[in-house]
Symmetry: C2
Subunit: 190 residues, 2 copies
DNA sequence: TTGCTTTCTTAACAAATGTCATCGTCCTGG
DNA sequence: CCAGGACGATGACATTTGTTAAGAAAGCAA
């Protein structure tokens, strides 16, 4: 399974076999069944996770019991609560598996160590962080400037795969609208 | 004016005087009058900017001429369009000065060079990027899970300074609501 | 299969927000 | 100093969205 990760890294950086050996030695593998938590609200997030297979989501639950999905993540994506990871404080978010999944884990300390020892790896990780930030900015832009219909259209255009693998109520949650509203939008002619 | 930047950096990293000399040599200073653009939609963003004084905003303008403010930024904050900076493609956003401002600039190439040569500086910049990403995630969370009233309340709590220096119509734009809606929310008792 | 759960749709109504227009105040540039 | 513009408040009305409830269709487990 580590091969999936290796193939991913080689798309972004030049890493030698010796370096991969270090990275692999510091990693753990974890299998998750559907609905299983990778991180639960109130716990401290201790690991960076890379998804080898499956589909996960990050979400919060409010006072009324409503779930709010911050993001979905699938093969070749990273997932964690960076805030909890950085501060060591309990997480506000849950991460769980929407489908049976497999992830690679590195503790914060291990990741820090790897990044100090392997500049190429560090540069890659920070490049990914930069792209993640850009994606976030664009999502914020969309959230404040688009109608619900536009948001939905953009979602299925940008993530056609998720649209097939995820129930519509979760898409509504991701977009910040009620599931009934999404159902109505879909019913309308364009 | 470079002293403002130096004081900021020393709060986050250990940088020697020699290193500061390098950083300063690569920088340019720019003064902006109120309403002056730092970046205009359609232009390529070429610089990382650090704000020495004043207040700026990043925003887009839609088909109907409505402005949507992605973020405000003031002294000791960085501002740029990271997407345009990374890709070299024209920016979707405008950045302009809400107050007379002064900024320090580094071109993308200069910044890259500095980060390669100065690991401590690089680590600091990436640490800031990490925090920016966390802030973005929290804003996304708020956008999809809070009412307009909660968003406004959070804004004035988190950024009391901006609430005083920025017209309410801009706050409304930042929150993604019509200025009339914000005016009504304010009119209501808490 | 059968029964249970999940998912999605639809309807009726309430609440929130947007749009358009008007008005008064402040303030600032000429 | 004055006039025009920016800013904010408010009202009337339209539109969108949330809420509650009910039911149909599909999937899943015993």
């Amino acid at each position: 399974m580590f091969e999936v990760f290796k193939a991913y890294v080689l798309k972004h950086a030049l890493i030698s076999d010796d370096e991969f050996a270090l990275i692999e030695a510091a990693s753990r593998i974890k299998k998750l069944r559907k609905k299983q938590y990778l991180l639960q609200e109130g716990d401290v997030c201790r690991d960076h996770s890379f998804i080898l297979s499956g589909l996960l989501r990050t979400y919060s639950v409010d006072d009324k019991g409503n779930e709010h999905i911050i993001r979905f993540a699938t093969k070749d994506w990273w997932i964690s609560d960076r805030e909890s990871l950085l501060t060591g404080l309990p997480s506000k978010f849950n991460i769980d598996a929407i489908e049976d999944s497999t992830v690679l884990l590195w503790s914060a300390a291990q990741m820090e160590d790897l990044m100090d020892k392997l500049p190429g790896f560090s540069k890659m990780i920070n490049g990914i962080l930069n792209k993640s930030f850009i994606t976030s900015q664009n999502r914020i832009h969309e959230a404040i400037s688009s109608t619900a219909e536009e948001k939905y259209h953009n979602f299925i255009t940008r993530y056609p795969d998720f649209a097939l693998r995820v129930p519509q109520s979760m898409i509504a949650s991701y977009l910040g609208i009620a599931p009934e509203t999404l159902s109505r939008l879909r019913g309308k002619k364009h």
